[in-house]
Amino acid sequence: MTAKQLRERLELQLLSEPDPDRDVTGGYAGDLLSWVMGRAQSGDAWVTIMTNRNIVAVAALADPACVIVAEDSVVEPDVIALACEKGINLYRSSRTSFDLCCSIGSLLGV
């Protein structure tokens, strides 16, 4: 499933989508950036409530397929612009991390 397909299926709000065809191969939930950095796999959909600029650096390095901000956590425009510039798909949802992960899991069949 591509990042764009995942966004459509989960009805996520589109913040930045420079790489719509990126393949989503798994998922990871976490807000402690070092933890995410060390454990998330390339290709994961990363679900978090963190929205500061550092999530873009973490995403640029850990290489998830997309970042999904849960619970409508506020994302500043400069973070969205930075995500776009760095090639990071960034989405948002009113649902909780747990809820989103359940849906991602069943969509991916894990």
Partner: protein
């Protein structure tokens, strides 16, 4: 023998927002050099953790990345407070980070353990009151040499 390729970065100590920029740049540079993705991932993640540490704990420093034919070396150097007990600092979950840092998602105490995990060699030289130098090396896969 030609001189190894070197990249040098100054890491500002007061700016959380831009923390990690040097690592993201290195990732891009290594990509342009067509290094294998796993090596790039390991180098850039280890460097990011070190870079963040210099921002959080040491008021900034310098980062040097040196490309040898068989390995990539990352040297992070600061003149911060130093680390009193390195083996304690190396433990997963150990952190002296303040609450304002934690609220940004840092301070999980996973930085140094991640750096160790993602590299083949890591050495910490630190003196309290003088500063810290962390040297890490990632060996290139045989095929890339």
């Amino acid at each position: 023998m030609s001189e190894p390729v070197r990249f040098h970065f100054d890491v500002a100590g007061d700016n959380f927002a831009s923390a990690g920029e040097a690592s993201v740049k290195v990732k891009k540079l290594l990509r342009q050099l067509s290094m294998d993705p796993e090596t790039i991932r390991r180098v850039s993640i280890a460097m990011y953790e070190g870079e963040i540490n210099m921002v959080i704990h040491a008021n900034g420093g310098t980062a040097d990345v040196i490309l040898y034919p068989d390995r990539i070396q990352i040297v992070l150097s600061d003149t911060g407070p130093g680390i009193k007990d390195v083996s304690l600092a190396m433990q997963e979950g150990y952190s002296t980070a303040k609450d304002n840092v934690r609220s940004l998602g840092f301070g999980a105490g996973m930085g140094l353990p991640n750096m160790k995990r993602y590299t083949d060699r890591m050495q910490i030289e630190s003196e309290v009151g003088k500063g810290t130098t962390v040297t890490m090396e990632v060996f290139l896969p045989e095929a890339a040499r």
